[in-house]
Point group: C2
Chain length 229, copies 2
């Protein structure tokens, strides 16, 4: 436990919920806390806001200091302010989230973290404070988002099979989707370009490859509300 420096706002913090998709499952970026409270616990990367720092800048700085990850576009999610959520004093925290490719980032623990790592959201350590609720809230937002507009496609290889696309959706939604139904719906959206090309050197039957129709993708992202998976 350390003293609160004078240049920070002692009653407002930021917590970052960084989801990763590595082609397999949904991951979450956690740090191990170097100081009390909850020293030694794996937790969301979080910290206090400086007096001369805007919120988005604070989120970026905190994430970078603790994990080494930078150049991540994070979106603000929600403020959490239950009276006793933090043990030392009243602290309201504002959460941010992002969905990234884990292999794009070199992780370096720093500041109040002595370790940093990706965990499967299915096999996570117990999180301190209200971090579980903060994570759950961001996950609900992400799920709502992938159901209502095309997101996360940046996480796939440039050419991908419908099975790979379905894996991304299943990882985020945390449920299996009916293959036939998924294909029907996704193809109907006119978001995909059939490359008339097959996968190379795969053990199973080679699947057809697709890429995104980036023009339609941009239109649909702007419009919102297009999916209903």
């Amino acid at each position: 436990m350390r003293e609160v420096p004078a240049n920070i706002l002692e009653s407002i913090s930021i917590d970052c919920v960084i989801f990763g998709f590595d082609g397999q499952g949904l991951k979450i970026l956690l740090i191990r806390r170097k100081y009390e409270p909850s020293e030694g616990a794996w937790a969301l990367p979080g910290g206090f806001i400086k007096r001369d720092e805007n919120l988005d800048d604070a989120a970026k700085r905190i994430l970078k200091d603790l994990t080494g990850a930078h150049d991540i576009y994070m979106e603000q999610v929600h403020a959490f302010g239950a009276v006793n959520r933090y043990p030392l004093r009243r602290v309201i925290t504002i959460s941010y989230y992002a969905l990234v490719k884990p292999e794009h980032f070199s992780l370096i623990a720093g500041a109040d973290a002595d370790r940093v790592d990706w965990f499967s959201v299915k096999e996570m350590p117990e999180l301190p404070f209200d971090h579980h609720s903060i994570l759950e809230y961001a996950l609900q937002k992400l799920r709502y988002k992938v159901r209502s507009q095309p997101v996360g496609f940046e996480l796939l290889p440039k050419k991908f099979s419908l099975t790979e696309l379905q894996s991304l959706y299943e990882a985020i939604l945390g449920e299996e989707l009916d293959k036939r139904n998924f294909r029907k719906k996704i193809l109907k959206m006119k978001l995909l370009v059939d490359l008339k090309e097959k996968q190379q050197s795969v053990a199973h039957r080679a699947a057809t490859l697709y890429q995104f129709d980036s023009k339609n993708y941009a239109i649909m992202q702007e419009k919102g509300v297009v999916f209903d998976l």
Copy 2:
């Protein structure tokens, strides 16, 4: 300008964006500020959070103290934290919003407000601080919401015509909608029950009355993502 009491968190406030629909246009609830900074200006109802108060409770208490309006379900929108947004010191504000029927509430100015009133969003006084951005952000959220799921229907009379429903949508979206297109889309959603009944004692040609199919409405609200007006 008054001293900051010891029982409040001096660097976190809440601002309430209360929209009203009275059958005509979209309104916004404003208070006139009794104290500096910006004494005498019409502004969003806002105030500081008490140390022993959760965020949602603070929002309700602040709204009630300033305007008399209570029993309004408000949803958290966004935290605003530009370094210089508040002139006296660093304050981060968390916005809440709601959409109500103005005639349901008796307004009584209190606490830091000496007046309270509804204003048309089209003819508003200039707002202090970053209140214009806070309002605009909430309005975008409301617009996104009415485009993606059935909301705001509680603001109509129990039996209503399609013209009344269209007025609600046009007021919120701030644009005229094509009548034929609107009717086609709205009827396709199977949200409305044709009451086989006409309007009574109206000057113009009596229109058919509808009511909501509350079962389908509940299902669609839960599911989200159904509209595309």
